[in-house]
Each structure stands twice: as structure tokens, then as C-alpha cells.
Amino acid sequence: MTLFSPWALWFLSFMPLVVFMYILKQKFEERQISSIYLWQQVLKDIEVNTPWQKLKKNLLLFLQLISILFLVFALSDPYLYTGGGMHSNLVIVIDNTGSMNARYENGTRLAKAKQLAEEMINRSGTKANITLLTVGRSPGVEIGKTTDKGEAISKLRDINPGNFSGNINDSVSLVRAMIKQYEGGDSYKAVFYTDSPVDTEDLNAEVVSLASELVNVSLDYISYSDENGRLTVLVRASNRSNTSLGREISLYGNDKVLDIKNVEIPAGETISVYFEEISADASYIWAELTEKDDLVEDNQVYCILDSAKPKKALLVSVGNVFIEKALSNIEGLELYKTNPDEDSYEGYDLYIFDSAGISQLPESGSVMLINPSPGNGIVEAGAELEGGIADIAAHPLTKYMEDASFAVSKFRKMEVPFWADVLITLDENAAVISGEHRGRKTAVIGFDLHDSDFALTTEYPIFMYNLAAYLVGIDLKGKTTYVCGDAIDLNPNPEAAEVVVKTPEGIGYKLELTYPMLPFDNTGQYGVYELTQRIGETEVVSSFAVNFPAETESASGKPDEVVAQEATEAGNTPGGTRLQELFLGLLLMAAAIEWVVYIRGY
């Protein structure tokens, strides 16, 4: 045992003083009585003749001396070594990935981790520096280098469960970086509370394993195909347990039950369950397991029903990697290529003629001309002119291009038709125009992309996206299914004045319409999110689904994968328990007993 404040022991010198005062205090008040005859009978068994015997029988004095002892020990802040390793610095890492929501004893793995971490903090020395990290989708610092245990525990208790997929090993380098901050090479210990294997490398680290065998079936995936308005839905379920399990899978369309199937899944196996002839009258479908198990977060999976078919675009070109790359990355737009040998083109939503002659314009669909040749039938393309630095005109299609700066070596002079808007000029000559010509949305880029560095700018893909979105006519559907923790590039309509995302819990987030658009990362909750865009007077609502990362998290936490580990260095002194509070409690008790004795006059 050690005393953190041994100076308090000086107060022990008060004890002989108290005893001395007590002896002095033994003054007797003289009282003459008629006869001590009766008192002698009373005192027959009581001998209080000498001061020492009086002291021996004096309960109050004893209690006061005991109280002084307790007070002195409490002030001296005693610490009882119980082993484990007391260190000057303690780094606690809490795994807060989705798998930590699994059942553990009477709570969850995360609750157990928090409880053990709190005990660790309480056992640490009075002046220990405590750092608390959590690992969700990425490592984060909850509190750094604090000696205030109360604050550290408060932060610990505030850690909320997460549904993210993450890797505890990502925190090792952060821990190493934090340790380097500590001065003078003080001893430290890093403690990882996790259900996943951790490679602590050369750190003086302890790994507390919270892995356990679970009874768990997860729904990993849901998808569908549409045949004339009737859906065939595929749901993939995995049995993560060691025994075969029977489960009931319910399929919902929005809030309505569409179908229910009972399945038997062998241990460790994944099965595909098909729901056929499902009515498609819903905006999203989702599947759920009826039975609750050790990890309920992976018992449901969501999928958005695409109301719109993907758009098809045909690139007529000998080869233009800039166009291909820009357009092929647009979700919901399928890009096809062809050589400019065809006489006619049909069946696409958008035709892109790149430096290609047009013998006959398609009957329907939008058109984009790049480096148009004369006689294209859309614009009057004149001679080639020397280029210059591009000027971007203010237009919805040039949104987020305010800082664009690129040069064009040569371009074709164009007569700007009455139906077109000028988007980009070069030396006051129209270089890029767009508009609606005879009911067909049309855009013309008056230069070969190879003759400029436009394709190398960051604004280029934005511009191509805007143009494609305009030419195709509706919002291009992006990806609609994500996992918890994903940062989602929402790509709202350039003309949207306000964009709000509502989470499954009903929390609305108004997005800042900046360039570049920040990804939306409040995807901690699984379910269906709603994206509302206000464009002019109308509101366009779309949805996307966020699912629990079952592939990584449902499979995590097998006991044989995680090895508990003790810290390699014992540190300068062994760990233990502070006794100050114990002595304070004893002091209060002694004071209470003393009060009772005094009142009752024992």
C-alpha cells in the first residue's frame, strides 16, 4: 500500500493531544450529599479510581481517537496495490462497431466494455492521465489526457451504440500517436475492449476480449427483379451460429406485409429465399426476421424500388476516354458506344456525337454534339478559330463552375440559335450552348475535348453530369442502397434550392448546398432515408436505404478469433484501489456512533 499524501500523517500528532486533554478533562465536580451509603451500593461493581481505568472505559474517547485515525488516513490518500499494473497514462479504446451490439451476459458487448473500462479508470492512480478512444467507422478521441476521472467516466457513459462497420486495428496507429505526446517516457498502458482480433504490435497493450458465441441469423441482402410490374424478391439469410436454426422471414412493401416464409438454415450456412409474384405497389421493400436473437440489428434489410428505368446513352465516337469516363460514372445512365458508321440511331435517350458526322438525326432522344462538323442539322458550325481561356456564364448548368479555369486551343465558331443558351464563351464567342430544339433537348460543345484541358479540371465531371441530367430530362437515379457509416454523395439536382434528408428516426438534416457538396454521413441508423429537393415550387422526393453491415459485423466476434492479452510491461508500480473513500465512509460512521453515544450518555 502507498500513501499519495503522506504529509497528512502529521495530523496523527493530534492523537496524544486528545488523550492528554481527556485526562485533564477528568475534573470532578464536587457535590456534597447526605450520605454516600446508597451510592456505595451502586458503585460496588464499578471501579473508576484511576485516570487510566477511566480512559479504558471511556467509549467517547475511543471513538474520537478512531475518528482521527480514519480522517488522517483519508487525507493521506492511501492506495492498496491489488496487481494489474498502475500506470501514469491509460489509453482506453472501446470498439463501437455494429457487432458490439450483440448480447453479452445480461447486456451487450458494448455495455460490458463500458463497465470494465469504468472499473479500470477507478482502479487507476489518482494522477493517471486517461485517454478514451472509440472505434466506429473510424477511430475518434472522446477525451484526451485527462486526470479527471469523473469526466472520463462521464464521456465513457455517453458512448452510444453504433451500427457501423469498422476495424479496431485502425486505432492502433492513433494510440501510438497519442502515446508519443506523453512526456518523459512515463509508463502507459493501452486497453482495447473489442470483439475482434487486434494486432497491438509493440504497444504495451491489454486486449479484453468480448467475443462470444451467438445465436444469430442475419439478413444480408435483398434485391428484386421486375417483370411487368410483378416482383421477384431475393433475400439472403445467413446462420452465424453453431446450430441449425429455423426462422420466419417477413417481406414488407412500405408498411404492408407482402409475404412470409419459414426457412431452416443449417449452421454457418447462407441461403437465398425467393418471394415471387409480389405486387410492386410500394416505394421500398424490406425483409425482417420475426424471431429476436443475440444481434437484432442484422434482422432486417431494406431495398428501394426503382420507379425509373435507367437511361441509355449512345456515344458515337471513334474513342473519347474523357466522355466515356465522365458519363459511365453516372448512376442510372447506361452508356453505349458505337463507331460513327451507322446510318441511323434509335432506341436511346441521349445521343452523343463526338466529332462525328450525322447523316440523320434520331427521331427521338436528346442530342449532345461535341466538336460539331458542318451540316450537323442542329447548329451552324463555322470555321475553326483560335481558342483562349474559357469564360463560364452563369447558368444552372454551370452551377459549381464559378472557379473553373481552362483553356481551349481551337474551337468551331457557332451561330447561337434563338433556342439556345450560351454556357461557355471563348473570347466572346459561344463555345458551349444548350437548349431545346424542336422539342429535343440539345447541347453543343464547340471544341474537341482533346484540344483543351477542360477534361482535366475538377469541374469537368460536374459539368458533364449537369449536362447529362438536363439532356436526359429527369433526376438520374444514383445508388440507393448503402450500409451504416457510408458517406453518401447525394448529387442533388443543380436547380434544387433546398435539400433535406430525413433519417428513419425522423430527424431532418438540411444540407448545405456548397461546392463541392459534402457527403452525407449521418447514416448511423439502418432503414429508409428520404431525400427531399425543392426545385422551384415543386418538391421531388426520393429515397435510399441504409442497411446494417451484416457482412462484416454479423460475422464478427467469434471467441476463437480473439485472443485476450495482458500488458507486457507491469509498469512502475502495480495497480490497485484507492482507499480514501473507504476511510471517509468509516469516519462518517464513527462520527455517527459517537453522536449516539454522546446523546445516550454511555
Binding site: 477528568q26 475534573k27 470532578f28 465536580e29 464536587e30 457535590r31 456534597q32 450529599i33 447526605s34 450520605s35 454516600i36 451509603y37 446508597l38 451510592w39 456505595q40 451500593q41 451502586v42 458503585l43 464499578i46 473508576v48 479510581n49 477511566k54 472505559k57 445516550r600 450518555g601 454511555y602
Partner: protein, 295 residues
């Protein structure tokens, strides 16, 4: 000192006392006609009672009718009217001069009262002061006019030193039966049993008046106390606790009950009074309840 006549013998109290008669159980052997029926079975015409014949009895008193009925010899006893001899003993040790109000004051007042009643009843009275091992007695007083002498004697009484009641009382000479009343706190080494037995042997109706002060009945002390005995000067250091006071109470009750039981066995009367009780209350209630006097 105090003035008995002024504090006790006001006109109203004296009027009340006029109707009180001291009731004595035993009849007097000798005497010349007091105002009270003596319990002493004498040779007057008024039949009183029977008792069994014992050797030496006057055979003329044998009741032959009773013999014929019970086939055993009984002698008749007759009531005889004669005056009683009342001896009042007052413990004048130092311990009696203690208390608030003092026990000595209470004892003297009660003695004066009883003396007055006895004189008023045409009984003879002798006051006795017990000090050390000696008894100082007054002359035998008779008649109401002698009450002043009682007062003088009582007023002259000094309280001090230690009194051995047994030795004192045993030194008293008795000429005949009568009533002996002892006023004391009975904090006396050796007790009072020998004295009571002596008095009974001397054919006395014994009445013990145990006078105690409020401080002795309910001591209100606390803390560290050095008790000093007022008679011996002996000191005792005590640390007063509720438990100790409880024990004192027990001892006090034991002490009083011991005397009470002894008196009951011996046929003596025992009354315990507090010095703070009013004299009227003691006389009219306690004494009446004990049968010492009748209204």
C-alpha cells in the same frame, strides 16, 4: 431557626387536628385514664376479646362458656381506657440536615404535629434526640399547655455528626407500653433492626417515618462527580450515566423495601415521606392511610 407555631399551627390546622385521634394498637399496662381506648387488655368491665389460657394467667378470667363450647381454656380480655405514652425519636445526624427542603425541617415539623396531637389527646409525650450513640430526651409532657415545651425542645435540636440509631434507642428506658415513632433517613451503619426489635420488646407500637429529600429520591446529577458524604466526609468519584442512575433507583427501592418488609414482619408501621411534601398532606393522607391517626 424556624418557628413551628407560626408555620404549622395556624388556627385552621389546629381545628382540624382537634378531631384527629391517635390510634394505638396495644393497650397500656398502667396509666390514669387518657381520652383514648387503650388496646391494652385490662380489667375493666368492657369485654374485648379472647385468647388462649397460658401459665400464669389469672384463672378468674377463664371463660367457662368458651371452655364448654370448645373444650379448651380461654381467658377474657377487657378494654381498658388509659392514656398512651408517645415517644418521638428524631435522628439528629448530619445527613438529616440535608436536602431542599431539609429533611430535619420535615422531621421536626412532623414531630411537632404528632406531639401536638398526642398532647391534645391527653396522651403523654416524650421527645428524644438521637445523636451519636446517645439519646437526649425531653421531660414527659402532658396536656395541651405543654406544647410550648415541645416547641422549645425541637427548636433547640442540633443536627450533626453520625448517629448510631441502634445504640441510641437501646439506651432509652421505657416504663411501659406506648407508641414509639422514629424519624430518620436510616442511612445508618448497622441498620435499625436491633432498635426496632428493642422497641417491640419494650412493648412499643413502632412507627418508622423514613424521611428522604428530593435529591435522594431523584438525584439530578450528571457528568464526572465527586460525591462527598456530609457525615463522614468520605469521597467517591463517579461518572454519572443513565445506566448508573437506573442502578441507583434500584438500590433506593431495595433499601426502602428492605425496611418496609422488616417492619411488616415485625408488626411495625413504615411510612416513607419526602421532605418536599407538605406537612398537611403527610399527616392527613399518609398517616391516615397507615392507620396511625384517625379522623
Amino acid at each position: 431557626m424556624f418557628d413551628l407555631s407560626e408555620r404549622i399551627f395556624d388556627a385552621e390546622f389546629l381545628k382540624k387536628l382537634d378531631t384527629i385521634v391517635i390510634n394505638v394498637r396495644m393497650m397500656m399496662n398502667t396509666g390514669s385514664g387518657g381520652n383514648r381506648k387503650s388496646r391494652s387488655k385490662g380489667s375493666s368491665v368492657e369485654f374485648s376479646d379472647f385468647r388462649e389460657y397460658s401459665l400464669g394467667d389469672d384463672f378468674r378470667r377463664i371463660d367457662w362458656n368458651a371452655y364448654g363450647r370448645f373444650d379448651r381454656l380461654f381467658v377474657k380480655l377487657f378494654m381498658e381506657e388509659r392514656e398512651a405514652m408517645v415517644n418521638i425519636f428524631i435522628d439528629s445526624s448530619r445527613s438529616m440536615y440535608f436536602g431542599e427542603p431539609k429533611k430535619s425541617l420535615s422531621a421536626l415539623k412532623l414531630s411537632g404535629t404528632l406531639a401536638y396531637l398526642a398532647l391534645n389527646n391527653l396522651d403523654r409525650v416524650c421527645l428524644n434526640s438521637l445523636a451519636g450513640t446517645l439519646v437526649r430526651q425531653s421531660s414527659v409532657l402532658s396536656g395541651r399547655g405543654m406544647f410550648r415545651h415541645c416547641v422549645d425542645f425541637l427548636e433547640d435540636m442540633q443536627f450533626g455528626g453520625i448517629t448510631d440509631l441502634n445504640s441510641c434507642i437501646k439506651k432509652k428506658e421505657f416504663k411501659g407500653s406506648g407508641v414509639s415513632i422514629v424519624f430518620s433517613d436510616f442511612f445508618t451503619p448497622g441498620g435499625i433492626e436491633d432498635a426496632v426489635k428493642y422497641l417491640l420488646y419494650k412493648k412499643q407500637d413502632v412507627i418508622l417515618i423514613h424521611v428522604l429529600s428530593p435529591e435522594e429520591l431523584n438525584p439530578e446529577i450528571e457528568g464526572q462527580i465527586r460525591l462527598l458524604d456530609s457525615e463522614t466526609g468520605e469521597a467517591r468519584d463517579i461518572s454519572v450515566t443513565p445506566a448508573m442512575l437506573l442502578q441507583y433507583d434500584k438500590e433506593l427501592n431495595l433499601f426502602m423495601n428492605k425496611i418496609r418488609e422488616f417492619c411488616s414482619r415485625m408488626g411495625a408501621a413504615y411510612i416513607q415521606v419526602s421532605s418536599e411534601e407538605p406537612i398537611e398532606k403527610i399527616v392527613l393522607e399518609e398517616f391516615t392511610k397507615a392507620g396511625i391517626i384517625g379522623v
